[in-house]
Symmetry: C2
Subunit: 409 residues, 2 copies
């Protein structure tokens, strides 16, 4: 049961001028499932990407990096579910390239103008023949208003499709930012978005696209964690078609640049939080806020130690204010000179621990009240400095085990 997450209203997903999406059933792993998605970009579009930091990155991630580095001019993306094409060695690389070539030849492009994405089971051979056979149907399906269908087609263990859209105005022109994403396990910091695709028709200097994307990722997908596993395939892409008709943005600090950045961050945060809300087995959405750090790095260490602790996550599942588990996680987060005697802990508005110990006025029923909610904010104040950070995660339930024990069955 996802936590406060509803399927997107397809009519609320604004088309992005110059972007079309087409879906097909290729039978990659199972027949009768929409498992293939093609996205085309109008000529002149620019694309930026951030990818998993897993050294065992999948073949499509390697091919994406090559193609993005080769030359500008990406014009199509192809996404399959059911098979991650990871841990597949040289053969996997060849199959990712073959997928690009097949789509390129049908669209009249060079293979380097196509980016491939795969998600699903690791270490099995990608059935390129089935993907190739599915391409004509996906191409025939291409339409500007298929964002909702595309969000559904890229789902794996997701229970709800994830899409978000914002419209802003620049120079009196409507500018759209629309994106889709899929989770829902193997999610962890350091660029662990699973797959996320956002497009905008904003006109923006090509050199600004990568820093814009990096900042959005840092404020969204890089702050979520479900189980601490960093996937081999995580990719977050931003395409700009420059079709909105306003004067090109040449600085992210200009009024127009800030407006676009804010809209992109909103879309990315909504998608990232949707991944956590639909985390495998999630019953609660937890915001972990760490204040008073000497620097942001140590705030993140503490936030992730809390967000990854199976003991903390099972306590949230049980609505058990066993808050010492949170203090224990703070203690092993890796801050060598941490003074436990300074630490404050809050659960929403309830001040639980003070100077490293249980607060005398803290009453268990107050902790219990907050723990029973489906949305909870844990706040730790380290009292070491002025830095802070926020991370979003979910609890850890029977169903997480069930989903991951049964995934391939």
């Amino acid at each position: 049961m996802p936590v406060h997450l509803q399927a997107p209203d397809p009519t609320a997903l604004q088309p992005v001028a110059g972007v079309e999406l087409g879906i097909a059933m290729a039978g990659v792993r199972k027949a009768g499932r929409r498992d293939l998605c093609v996205m085309t970009l109008a000529e002149g579009s620019t694309v930026a990407g951030v990818f998993t930091r897993n050294r065992f990155c999948a073949a499509p991630v390697q091919v994406c990096r090559e193609h993005l580095a080769a030359a500008p001019g990406v014009r199509a993306l192809v996404v399959n579910t059911g098979n991650a094409n990871a841990g597949t060695g040289a053969d996997g690389l060849a199959r990712a390239r073959a997928t690009c070539s097949a789509l390129a030849s049908r669209l009249g492009l060079a293979p380097e103008q196509v980016l491939p994405f795969s998600t699903g089971v690791i270490m099995e051979t990608l059935p390129v023949d089935r993907i190739e056979a599915g391409l004509p149907a996906a191409i025939a399906d291409l339409a500007a208003d298929h964002w909702g269908a595309a969000a559904e087609a890229i789902m794996t263990t997701d229970t709800v499709a994830k899409a978000a859209s914002r419209t802003i105005e620049i120079d009196g022109r409507a500018v759209h930012v629309t994106g889709i994403a899929k989770g829902a396990g193997m999610i962890r910091p350091n660029m662990a978005t699973m797959l996320g695709f956002v497009a905008t028709d904003a006109a923006i200097a090509p050199a600004l696209l990568q820093p814009l994307l990096a900042e959005a990722a840092d404020r969204s997908f890089n702050r979520i964690t479900v189980d601490g596993d960093t996937s081999t395939n995580d990719s977050f892409m931003l395409a700009a078609t420059h079709r909105a008709g306003h004067a090109p943005i040449t600085s992210l600090d200009s009024a127009a640049g800030r407006r676009l950045k804010d809209a992109l961050i909103e879309v990315a945060q909504q998608l990232a939080q949707a991944i956590v809300r639909d985390g495998e087995g999630a019953t609660k959405f937890i915001t972990v806020q760490v204040d008073g750090g000497a620097n942001e790095h140590e705030c993140r260490q503490v936030a992730y130690a809390i967000a990854h602790s199976p003991l903390v996550k099972t306590a949230f599942f049980a609505s058990d204010p066993n808050l010492g588990r949170i203090l224990a996680a703070v203690g092993y987060a890796g801050i060598d000179d941490l003074d436990q005697g300074l630490i404050d802990l809050y659960l929403d508005d309830v001040h639980v621990a003070e100077r490293g110990g249980r607060r005398p006025s803290y009453r268990e029923e107050d902790g219990q009240r907050v723990m029973k909610q489906s949305e909870i904010t844990v706040r730790v104040d380290l009292h070491r400095g002025a830095a802070s950070t926020t991370v979003w995660t979910c609890d850890f339930s029977y169903d997480y085990v069930k989903i991951n024990a049964d995934y391939r069955s």
Copy 2:
């Protein structure tokens, strides 16, 4: 259901000359439970300890460190279950000291000659009055052959008591090494033994005791992990009573020194592995061996990434040879210049992945056969150098969630 673990045969636990153990029911958390254990050491004994590296260490750990640093001459240990006296601030420290004083006055010792240990729920006030009231019964129960009862008294979520014993011969004299330990969750590298107490009647130069203990810990308790959580209270203690009557050991590299070290490592490994075999919800015992590292540090990084991955652990629980999850964990272990194209992966005798990809001759039914076993060795060869390491862990089941969600109920 613990994995191939039986309760120790009390008659196989050799008494250690100069050591007595007494048990009582103090009602620390629940009435009618053996939750208090006192261990006394004959005059002239020496004691060494290694403790949690959690910066949020519990009050008893802080007091242990103070008392060990204050002076030689520790003569008694007192252990309670039901309450960890952690996250309890200055009041917790005062209560740990009060426990020592109470036992010291009854035994005619100085408070600094007593070491306190607590395990159980975090962030609740230690009921010192109940512990004090239980001390007379524990003292009256003191006997040299109560190792088995002591192993039972220190259990919390353990399902089986953990004890081990070895007898060696030095200078024609029988020398005993006997120990007990408790787990079973919140177990992680970097000195995360929960509680472990080993005693020997060997005569050994006092300066050798700490290095001997450190090496044994590094070969045993520091190589196990259940859930990646480092407890606030972990302590592993070694006491030597020097009563065996042989010429004192003055070098760990002498024949007698090596014999004692080997026996201690055997006892410590048996205890450490017993903790994993009885890991919360464990159904399988997994040995993770990493070979071919450039150094031991990176081997450990890889071994723990595998051993901590919830996705890997749930796949073991499901007997699902979803081995790509292991390769993914290798990839995010943190080796920046890892070449995934060199990696081999084995499940027992089955060669699964070669040069980073699925081995052409690998058949799923072979992986399935190994995965169905209750004892499995995962071996990764990084092909980067000559270093290697081994870590022991367990799988991740529904019952882990159940136990930790219900722990305080």
